[in-house]
């Protein structure tokens, strides 16, 4: 077997089996630390042994077994100076949870990592480490914090899970919706951090994060195929990611939706996203639950990606969807996006009137000022437009976005 083949097998096993191994061990031993460290050790053994011994027929089973042995070794070492309790824990498999609605260790793992008793930052870090299998340095780099800081954040969160007895369990049906909301928020946050990277020194789009979020989205859909919002979020991410190549110009400037080279959009991702949106529309039409925010956002993105030319965009449909979204989520940011769609349908003056009502809530939000700048420009109010561009540039964190805004501002006549 060539090194390249083995390396590929290890990479694939890591992608496919990491969360299963960690999940199985966490359930068996009731300890995330042991689960994580033993899983990491098992992969290290694979890196060492597979090139010589060959890739096992069932890599996942091999890894789980190896990790199990490592965990038992570890517990034996510790229990030499400890009591019988751990030994007992080691032998008695946790009983299958009768209350859980879906029996899958990966799902337990996701819900534990995204437990509402953990700080949102910790939920993101734990999910990327324990579910996605990113290393601590990778996560630290992704969120622009020092490795020691990130390691501490993860250790502290695991410490809280253990000490406060956050259960390793899928929530009951009654709690599932609320708890799922926290899980989806984590995945969407990872995606957005990749798609509109906030750090000034970062690449404008960070593929490692968008790809990871989509992978998590696919995993959730495998585990919870009937949850509309899970499908909605995956569709939303696919339809957004499909436009990635067209979103930043060769000179590193953000290209807005209306100006994007639609031929550069990823047709396969769009087809997949549209199929998911259609699946949800059909489910809702059959009398299913009313769609939540991710499904509505996915539908909006489906309308955008349906038009081969920006001028063909069905803006009345987009506005109708934003009207639905405002009911579910009346936040100022949603109302800002609705106003942008209204401006396309009813003209910039109507749009601006709506935008200006949000001034108090969004005074420090760069997109508010960028939107105002654009509408004022279209209304010929150049001086006000320039001031709004200035403010937007000041607040924008993304380099490509600032480059775009600066060019638009400088196009205004003095």
């Amino acid at each position: 077997m060539t090194d390249a083949v083995v390396e590929e097998a290890i990479t694939r096993a890591h992608r496919e089996a990491w969360a299963r191994v960690v999940g199985a061990l966490a359930r068996r031993f009731g300890d995330l630390d042991i689960a994580e460290e033993s899983a990491a050790e098992a992969f290290a053994v694979a890196v060492e042994r597979w090139p010589a011994d060959g890739v096992p027929a069932n890599p996942q089973a091999w890894l789980t077994m190896t990790a199990n042995r490592k965990a038992i070794d570890r517990i034996r070492r510790e229990s030499k100076r400890d009591d019988k309790q751990r030994e007992a824990q080691m032998l008695s498999d946790h009983p299958a949870d009768p209350l859980g609605v879906v029996d899958d260790d990966r799902l337990r793992l996701v819900f534990t990592c995204c437990h509402p008793a953990l700080a949102p930052q910790a939920r993101v870090a734990l999910t990327l480490r324990l579910v996605a299998g990113l290393t601590v340095p990778e996560i630290a780099h992704a969120f622009l914090v020092r490795e020691t800081t990130m390691a501490q954040r993860i250790t502290r969160a695991k410490g809280k899970i253990k000490a406060a007895r956050i259960p390793f369990r899928v929530p009951t049906q009654a709690d599932l919706r609320d708890r799922l909301g926290a899980v989806l928020a984590v995945v969407y946050l990872v995606f957005n951090e990749g798609y509109l990277a906030s750090g000034r020194d970062h690449d404008p789009v960070r593929v490692e994060l968008t790809d990871e979020a989509i992978r998590l989205g696919r995993l959730l859909r495998t585990l919870l195929p009937d949850e509309g919002e899970v499908t909605g979020l995956l569709a939303l991410m696919l339809l957004t990611d499909a436009r990635r190549r067209a979103r930043v110009s060769v000179t590193g400037e953000l290209v807005t939706l209306d100006a994007q080279d639609r031929g550069a959009w990823d047709g396969a991702l769009i087809a997949e996203g549209h199929a998911l949106v259609r699946e949800r529309l059909a489910a809702v039409a059959r009398g299913g639950e009313r769609p939540g925010r991710y499904q509505i956002l996915a539908a909006i993105n489906a309308v955008h990606t349906d038009a081969f030319d920006a001028r063909d965009t069905d803006w009345s449909q987009v506005v109708a969807l934003y009207d639905q979204l405002v009911v579910v989520d009346p936040s100022p940011v949603v109302r800002l996006n609705r106003a942008i769609a209204v401006a396309e349908l009813d003209g910039p003056e109507v749009g601006l009137a709506l935008v200006d009502r949000l001034g108090d809530a969004l005074a420090d939000y760069h997109a508010f000022h960028a939107t105002r700048a654009d509408l004022l420009r279209r209304l010929g109010r150049s001086a006000q437009s320039r001031a709004a561009y200035d403010r937007a540039i000041e607040l924008a964190g993304n380099a490509a976005e600032r480059a775009y805004l600066a060019r638009r501002r400088d196009q205004l006549a003095r």
Binding site: R81, D82, D83, Q85, H115, A117, A163, A164, R165, I166, P167, R169, P171, D175
Partner: protein, 128 residues
């Protein structure tokens, strides 16, 4: 069974009627809290519960030096203090959080949930 402290937080100085909207509201809160306590006992979660006098009645004792230093409390500078608490036994945090939400509604206060040290964590400390 793991133990948790559910502490109720309130302003340093209580307004008239213990900070409740009025006398009726105060009596209703007492009744609701009493009913919640009974439920805790009935369902086997109850260990202990009581209310404290307001934080301005606290005294701090520092016995670390040669002479004991006594000063007017409370110890921490804060706008909010613990006004009362429950100690419960619950199988995991999800159960404790659900009970805390009920307790919070009953007593009309925000509740902090904090696990007690366990034998296991204490042993880990001794071995560290």
């Amino acid at each position: 069974m793991p133990r948790y402290m559910l502490s109720v937080w309130e302003p340093a100085e209580r307004a008239r009627f213990g900070g409740y909207a009025g006398k009726e509201e105060m009596l209703q809160a007492f009744a609701d809290t009493g009913a919640f306590n009974e439920k805790l006992e009935r369902e086997g979660y109850f260990v202990f519960a009581d209310g404290l006098e307001q934080a301005t009645t606290a005294t701090v004792v520092d016995g670390l030096g040669d002479e004991v230093v006594i000063s007017d409390g409370p110890y921490a500078e804060s706008k909010e203090f613990i006004g009362g608490f429950w100690v419960i036994e619950a199988p995991d945090l999800d159960v404790a959080l659900r009970l805390a939400a009920e307790g919070s509604k009953a007593c009309r206060g925000k509740v902090e949930v904090r696990p007690f040290q366990t034998e296991e964590s204490f042993k880990a400390l001794l071995e560290s």
